[in-house]
Amino acid sequence: MNATQTFLLELHCEEIPARFLSKLGSEFAEKFRQWAETEDVHPRLGWTQEERLDLDASEEFVLPTAYTDFISPRKLAWRFEEILALQPDQTEIQSGPPQRMCVGEDDKPTIQGEKFAEKWGVPFSAVRFEQPAGKKEPCAVVTITKQGRPTVDLLAEALPGLIAGLHVPKAMRWGKSDFEFVRPIRNILCLFGDQVVPITVDGVAATNTTWGHRLYHRQHPAPVTIATPEAYESALEAAGVVVSVEVRHARMAEQLDDLAAKAGGRVVADAELLDTLAEIVEFPKILRGDFPADFLELPKEVLVTSLREHQKSFCIEGPDGALLPHFLTAANRTDDPAGFVKAGNEWVLKARLYDARFFFAEDRKLALSVRLEKLKALTFQRELGSYYDKTGRVVALVKTLATRLSTDDEHIDRALEAARMAKCDLRTLMVGEFPELQGIMGGEYLKHEGAHEEVWMAVKEHYRPVGAEDAIPSTPMGCLLSLCDKLDTVAGCFAVGLIPSGSKDPLALRRAGQGIVRILWERGWAFTPTDLITAALRVVGTKATKPASETTEALMAFFKDRVAYQLELAGYAGSVRRSALAAGWEDLVDLKARCEALSAFAEDPRFASLAQSAKRIGNILKDEIPAGNFDSGLLVQAEERVLAEQLVEVEAAADQKALLATLADLAEPLEAFFSAVMVKCEDPALRAARLNLLHRLRKAFLRVADFSLWQ
């Protein structure tokens, strides 16, 4: 077994956008691992043939090479351990012409035979004759051994191509070159053990040096030498760069909690922001700043959004959930010698909050309702018209559905008011600045205007759930508004032919559809998809460009998929979902009850037997539909009479749970029935009675599930 070395490559670039870092890191690692395998520079080659076969056969092929990737704003780096210093000798088998053409009748090589040996640089005596798979006769074969090459040479040849071949989503050029990369490469550190791998990429030649933090180099003009790959982290930490994103992340998380606690509160958590910060600083330190307390009059969501979007800062909330006049942000240095960093961040934040307060004050100079007219100039969708048109449709939908949920006229009037106001905030300055505050601002402004709490809460939450993780609106009115808004979007788009397909869903209609199903599911509202589609298409009216029947069919298929997915989200087992859905999916309240009941029985071993019997029943009834009515008096065998008695009980079951209990009791009698009774007997009356018995049983089953799909 020959010696192994550690390989280290660092591309030192101008600041790389955070969003590309981790993808580039893992992509190169994967490419390198494939290359190492192809070139046999992996220690596994030092193992015996038997060991390798054993491994290959036993498990998924995983290279054991240890590797680490390091990503930071100016660095993409990778370290691979245990790479062979010398590639093992490579043997190759080459085959040539058939034996009869290589060897003459005198057993001497023919000219063709000599040429084949010459081609591969071996004496003719080294040529063997074997019959390769798929050939009819023996052919000339030689085994060529190529001497293994030093890995450093192989690396030098391969790396420029591997680097240039990285997939860069938004590639750029710089200077005079046509080379493309994510940002200009300014230095390359490339070590195999302590040896520099001589590569050049776009005119930059590799060395054993790199650059630390910009501040560090103000005092130390020379580059940092990395003696060995193992010294990478420590040498750079000393030069002001924490190369591991995980370490930076952990340090900041700890400091955030610590500083928030010291300020008497806790961080308003934002995992995405912390991830971003870990990727845009190389020597992190969280610092606390303060802002004037009078900005706390702004809604909490405005402050949190403004701080996050403009200043990549976290808010701190007190024990009661109210914000404190402090913020936390990351600096790209671990000290603040003159206090400039803190003061600067505070100054900028104040400017931003000033702007937010300006928007908040300006927006409130006019009643929110004044914006309703202005929605006419805001297009919702080309065929479906403006947001004003959309508002009209949503109001109509709310009217239709609200009367089925409530008989209180005042309550219904408030729901209609919420629907009229829902989209008005799209014309406010604040939502113009922070689109993610849509709905929230409308609610806030209505609250300030003294609107009924039901109304402003409904408007505030009507975009929810914004994703699978988000909750549905907290009030029934919010749910109704959200449902109607999403329903209009989905049905309207389908009616003009905008139907999601495959991975294409630019209008996020599936997410909207899922929101509708979740609201129905969690609220237990009894609207069926047919009800909803009919109501929605009525309000879309003449804006539809597709025939209503076509749209309805597409929407039914769409909602069925959404319902199926809802069952997955709810965590039901596959057998429960399949069999329950097949017995009807439109009545969600009923579907939920059936899934719950089925899940409770899922572990019952009798269900496996019941499923088998259900399949047999299905097969028998497939060929022959029973005629006439069921007359249990015609049944003769004990096994079938028992079954008929139990059927009476099954059909009398009051709810899903009772039904399932009686069904489970059928498992054994059914088995007995099928082993003793010949259903398709000669006597036509008896045969009809038996078939009718099975038909009735199947109908009873289908009240809860199609057990033939239970596995």
Partner: protein, 304 residues
């Protein structure tokens, strides 16, 4: 630091590093990039370094001179370096030091911020430069201008003059900035930004939001467009035609601030400006170098 001192130092710094010192272009525009020194200068193969101040108008940003941070018109200091030098980031940092910013005491970051001007058919990638949490410059590697690939690539540095001055002086209100001092026999009189510009901010904001004649601006937009294409097609004059594109752009900005442009209308209007600007770019390159690359897609850079 006074505004004029900041400008003088930047001009000195970049002149010493081999830049021509240009002048603002005397037409309304939204950004220094629109100055022909950049728009045409970034095209073609010849080396080109230039630096200049550009007053930039953003009608929708007007706040009647009442907002301490936002204004209708601000000053940009624009630098174009073609081809982009290998040490361009270091050069930029040195320019900050020339302004008296001691970087050992500050936090300086380059955060992704890609630039795109749909009305110029131009885009590039780069950063916003953030000093202690405040954006003080835009830094862009031009990839396309006028719908044409930039070869070689220019680096564009844009300094926000008022912002940097406010930041350095700790001012909380842009109108308190001191532009410079007037010295007379009677004494020294500091002149503030507010004295020079506040009334202008008020009137231009009022114009953009309230008084601009919408019908007139629509008519003007059409007329500038017609004039531009006539100059280009009948006479092959890309400089005077480009001026018409600039006028179209500003006219559109006024209409937009006035709330006269619907969201559906917007892309179509921008495209009309872009079509003329791109045609001017191609005519320039043909005139300058006798060759022009086949029409490039104006989309953003895709996968390699």
């Amino acid at each position: 630091m006074h505004i004029q001192e900041l400008i003088l130092r930047l001009q000195r710094f970049w002149a010493d590093r081999g830049c021509l010192i240009g002048q603002p272009y005397d037409l309304e525009k939204g950004a220094g990039t629109m100055n022909p020194l950049t728009f045409f200068g970034a095209l073609g193969s010849k080396p080109w370094n230039v630096a200049y101040v550009e007053p930039s108008r953003r009608p929708a940003d007007g706040r009647y001179g009442e907002n301490p941070f936002r204004v209708y018109k601000h000053l940009q200091f624009q630098v174009i370096l073609k081809p982009s030098p290998a040490k361009v980031q270091d050069l930029y940092i040195e320019s900050l030091e020339a302004l008296g910013i001691d970087l050992t005491k500050h936090d300086l970051r380059f955060e992704e911020d890609n630039w795109e001007s749909p009305s110029l058919g131009a885009w590039g990638v780069g950063w916003q430069v953030v000093l202690d949490g405040m954006e003080i410059s835009q830094f862009t590697y031009f990839q396309q201008v006028g719908g044409l690939d930039c070869r070689p690539v220019s680096a564009e540095l844009t300094y926000g003059i008022e912002r940097i001055c406010m930041f350095l002086g700790g001012y909380d209100n842009i109108f308190d900035l001191v532009h410079g001092e007037v010295k007379t026999d009677d004494g020294v009189f500091p002149v503030t930004y507010g004295q020079m510009r506040q009334r202008e901010e008020f009137e231009l904001s009022a114009y953009s939001f309230e008084h601009a004649d919408i019908d007139l601006h629509r008519t003007l937009f059409d007329a500038f467009e017609k004039e531009g294409w006539r100059l280009l097609k009948d006479h092959g004059h890309f400089l005077s035609a480009y001026e018409q594109a600039l006028k179209m752009s500003h006219t559109f900005n006024v209409l937009d601030a006035r709330g006269a442009v619907s969201t559906t209308e917007r892309p179509g209007i921008i495209k009309r400006v872009r079509d003329l600007a791109c045609a001017c770019a191609r005519a320039y390159l043909e005139h300058q170098e006798g060759v022009v690359a086949p029409a490039e897609a104006t989309g953003k850079g895709g996968a390699k």
